[in-house]
């Protein structure tokens, strides 16, 4: 799974961001981009020593200043589920088109007995 996909899926979720200078920002993710620039809302900022705090309504963090992000554990399962669902939707829609020509077993069995019956009827 791509890191940026995980981040995009984390929109509106709470997270902790640690910057290269050791500051930490706790807040809810508003948006993110390919550079990992992010905007957070309802942010609690802490200085590197952990002894000064600020509350910010919104903030923008340049991706290049980020060391790491901690996100809720459930997000991993949520994103994997969505990826599986998207893959299954793709499979089903493609399977439907191929089924029109070759025919999966279900349609074949429905057609088979009927055809056989008609054939026997004519023969008899």
């Amino acid at each position: 799974m791509l890191p940026l996909s995980l981040l995009t899926a984390a929109q509106n979720k709470p997270m902790l961001v640690e910057l290269k200078n050791g500051e930490t920002l706790n807040g809810h993710l508003v948006n993110c981009d390919n550079f990992m620039n992010i905007t957070l809302r309802e942010v609690y900022q802490t200085n590197p020593d952990g002894d000064r705090f600020w509350k910010l309504k919104e903030c923008y963090i340049r991706g290049s200043t980020i060391k790491y992000l901690r996100v809720p554990d459930v997000l991993l399962d949520t994103v994997k589920e969505e990826q599986n669902r998207a893959r299954d939707v793709g499979r089903n829609s493609r399977g439907g088109h191929i089924g029109g020509r070759g025919g999966p077993r279900a349609r074949g069995t429905r057609g088979g007995p009927m055809r056989g019956g008609r054939g026997r009827g004519r023969g008899a």
């Binding site: 799974m1 791509l2 890191p3 940026l4 996909s5 995980l6 981040l7 290269k20 990992m36 991706g63 290049s64 980020i66 060391k67 790491y68 992000l69 901690r70 996100v71 809720p72 554990d73 997000l75 991993l76």
Partner: protein, 96 residues
């Protein structure tokens, strides 16, 4: 070209530029070596006390911060009693 694909879904040790050692399951990566680490735990080494393991959860680490990604042999790791390990913590990288 070498890639981290071989490490996906394995347990790995990440050493960061600030000297931190984090173990976890590699869930994903990209071309910049940004990494998604699941069930991660930071291991704090000390000369006097045993290793302290701090559970951290789901981590997205920026590629620029990573020094090393190493595959962890789970069997060997399980057999090690972290309380008996004594080691100097890795210092942060200094440039220039």
């Amino acid at each position: 070209m070498s890639s981290l694909q071989g490490y996906v879904d394995r347990k790995v040790l990440l050493v960061l530029q600030d000297g931190r050692a984090i173990v976890g399951t590699l869930a994903g990566f990209d071309q910049k070596s940004n990494i998604v680490l699941a069930d991660s735990k930071e291991r704090v080494y000390s000369v006097e006390d045993g290793v302290e393991e701090i559970p951290l959860g789901l981590y997205l680490v920026k590629g620029e911060m990573i020094c090393l990604v190493g595959e962890l042999d789970e069997e060997i790791d399980k057999s090690v009693d972290l309380a008996t390990v004594r080691a100097e913590p890795i210092p942060p990288i200094r440039y220039g």
